[in-house]
């Protein structure tokens, strides 16, 4: 479905959908909303993008991490090497982009990884209370307030997990259906 209007409009709408879904996710504890509906709303933008540009383009644009890799020096520790790569990629973009010893790499985030991280977050959110000898999934809350989010606690982790899980499942289904 190649319509110019949709193709242009979706570029503006994707950030709106994502931010609105995050808003819905965070407001969900005491009001209508939450992880499930948030994940669905987040997926809407990507579904439209897939409809106009195809699944390959969507995963290239949004679900591919591009970074620059440095061949490790002799005698350099594994962790230090990774840390240097991370630091330079995040904060010294120009240096990395022009430096001749840096090689371009990319890494595709398959929806299955989003699903797995969502499941992991949701499952782990319940484990914290086990450490305090409370039943599984008892809410553990902090004593302070954060701006926007409010009082942080394990339920937001659970909701975030559900959000990622739903997003991942919908994306996986969309990509498979769109390829056929």
């Amino acid at each position: 479905m190649k319509t110019l209007i949709l193709a242009v409009a979706i570029r503006i709408f994707i950030p709106i959908f994502v931010f609105f879904s995050l808003y819905i996710l965070i407001r969900g504890h005491n009001h209508p909303g939450g992880g499930f509906i948030g994940g669905l709303i987040c997926a809407i933008g990507f579904i439209f993008h897939t409809m106009t540009h195809g699944p390959k383009e969507t995963s290239n644009t949004f679900f591919t991490v591009r970074y620059y890799r440095l061949t490790p020096e002799r005698g350099q520790g594994f962790l230090l090497h990774k840390l240097i790569i991370l630091y330079k990629n995040l904060f010294r973009k120009e240096e990395v982009r022009t430096g001749s010893e840096w090689h371009k790499r990319q890494f595709r985030i398959d929806p299955i990884f989003i699903i797995a991280s969502g499941l992991f977050l949701a499952t782990t959110s319940g484990v914290f209370s086990l450490l305090a000898n409370q039943p599984y999934m008892t809410g553990v809350w902090a004593d302070y307030y954060l701006p926007i989010i409010g009082k942080p606690g394990t339920p937001i982790l659970f909701d975030l997990g559900v959000y990622l899980l739903v997003l991942g499942v919908v994306l996986k289904i969309t990509f498979i259906m769109a390829e056929e």
Binding site: I112, L119, F120, T123, N133, Q134, P135, T138, G139
Partner: protein
């Protein structure tokens, strides 16, 4: 502490499956994760059993919401025995699947699915909430659907369509039953329901009707007499590593639920339900074993025997004395091990001889005497020859039947045992003893080559079978611990106050 050990049998496989998802398509890593998960699951469930053995019934309320409102996890002896049995079988099947499955199937998520299936089984056994029970059943069945269809060969798809359709029907019966119970009594917590049902002054008829919905739904899932036709039609289609686990465990989970619900909840109007169960159990035994007699495929014979054995487990529930229920519990544990073992043996035979059809097999005794010996032990145990595990189960059931005067049923069960020996002898004669059919010499030569090339693989495939045979020998020759556990489990089941108090007054 009990909060932790009750959720561990659910969390360990879940975490294992999640880690496997992170390493999607990296089979080596998934295997390492799988081994670690299975071992720790086994340890956790053994610890759970020892704790329930010492401390009685353990409960935890998820999210710290107290009993009638929140979801409760309950572990009594029966459920922890089931969890332990499923963990033991899980290890065996997992080791078998290291080399017993094609990579194409493994790549599409066999390991995470197997782990999620184990989580579903443990969930059904540990939950104390009726609706939660239904949800765990769905978890378990969805994993089964995918596992049966995994690989997508034509007979598999045919089998899985039958399985999916009939099980959806069963699930809807279950759901209708749950809806009726909730509509009549207004609760879903099993302990509270037990109190409410015993105190109910009217609506007895409606509650019995709801129990019949449960009976039909769970009857389909556990393949009881008029509702078993889907089982022999679908269980033999997937590869052995999958069908061994499903065949060994899933129908027994249905039966576990049946025993749990009909001892804890539906104790009204037993004069209607129990005779029904008696007739169903007798017919299940007979029809299953007669069906097996007509088959010429190794796996199909075993599939029909699943049905036949289900009749024995149901017999204990139908007789409804402490001895009979203990017999059922012992028989369920014994059957989980034996049935998985026999399926795995058929898998090894297939791997080394390239066929499941009895006509094309032969002479295995000559080439693999160890396998033949293990088959004899498992088959005799299934039939109930005295020192082996099947005997103790059948002995307890028969004794309980004679005590309450159910001579017809006991006679049926004993003659079905003889027919079981007949079918096992058929397999023995055709697969192990008769000469290898001389249809084509090239296939024979090829087989000899496989035997040389795959020696370590074949040895690895023998390992889980040997493990299960040792387990069968253990519970057969040293039956005392398991029998006494089964007795105490059946006492817990029949004295529902212990369960109710543990859940509600905590």
């Amino acid at each position: 502490m009990q909060h932790l050990i009750l959720v561990l049998p659910l969390l360990i496989p879940l975490y294992g499956a999640i880690l496997c998802l992170f390493f999607w398509r990296k089979l080596g890593v998934q295997r390492v994760i799988g081994v670690a998960t299975q071992l720790s699951l086994c340890a956790a469930s053994a610890y759970l059993l020892s704790e329930t053995d010492q401390a009685g019934i353990l409960t935890t309320h998820i999210g710290n919401w107290e009993a009638p409102f929140g979801i409760t996890l309950v572990a009594d002896l029966f459920s922890s025995l089931m969890v332990v049995a499923s963990a033991v079988v899980g290890i065996a099947v997992f080791v078998f699947s290291l080399r017993g499955l094609s990579n194409a199937r493994l790549l599409y998520g066999y390991y995470p699915l197997l782990l999620l299936l184990q989580m579903g089984v443990n969930g059904v056994c540990l939950t104390g909430d009726l609706f939660n029970l239904y949800v765990w059943f769905e978890v378990l069945l969805i994993c089964c659907f995918v596992l049966i269809a995994l690989g997508g060969s034509k007979p598999q798809l045919e089998g899985s369509i039958k399985y999916v359709t009939i099980n959806f029907l069963a699930s809807s019966f279950l759901l209708i039953g749950i809806g009726m119970v909730y509509g009549i009594l207004g609760s879903l917590n099993m302990a509270e329901l037990a109190v409410l049902i015993r105190a109910a002054e009217d609506n007895h008829g409606l509650i019995t009707l709801a129990s019949v919905f449960f009976l039909i739904g769970l009857g389909i899932k556990s393949a009881i007499f008029p509702l078993f036709f889907w089982l022999p039609a679908s269980y033999h289609t997937p590869p052995i590593a999958i069908s061994a686990f499903i065949a060994g465990l899933i129908t027994k989970v249905g039966l576990y639920t049946l025993i749990r619900l009909f001892t804890l909840l539906f104790v009204l109007n037993q004069d209607i339900v129990l005779p029904l169960l008696l007739v169903a159990s007798g017919l299940t035994m007979v029809v299953g074993v007669l069906g097996a007699a007509a088959q010429v495929d190794f796996r199909k014979i075993l599939s029909f025997h699943i049905v036949s054995q289900i009749g024995y487990m149901l017999m204990g529930l139908a007789i409804f004395t402490p001895l009979a229920i203990a017999g059922s519990i012992y028989f369920i544990i014994h059957n989980i091990l034996v049935k998985t073992c026999l399926f795995l043996i058929s898998g090894v035979v297939y791997r080394t001889n390239g066929s499941f059809t009895l006509k094309n097999l032969g002479g295995v005794y000559l080439f693999q005497p160890l396998l033949a010996a293990m088959f004899v032990i498992a088959a005799f145990s299934l039939a109930g020859i005295p020192p082996l595990s099947g005997f103790w189960g059948k002995f307890m059931l028969a004794k309980a039947g004679l005590e309450v005067g159910q001579f017809g049923l006991v006679a049926t069960s004993l003659s079905v045992s003889i027919l079981t020996i007949f079918s096992m002898t058929k397999i023995w004669n055709e697969v192990f003893w008769k000469k290898r059919p001389r249809t084509d010499v090239t296939a024979d030569a090829a087989m000899a080559e496989i035997n040389v090339a795959d020696k370590p693989v074949i040895r690895l495939l023998h390992l889980p079978v040997l493990f299960l045979v040792l387990a069968i020998l253990f519970i057969g020759l040293y039956a005392e611990p398991l029998v006494s556990l089964a007795f105490r489990a059946s006492e817990q089941l029949l004295n529902s106050e212990i369960y109710i108090n543990a859940v509600l007054l905590k």
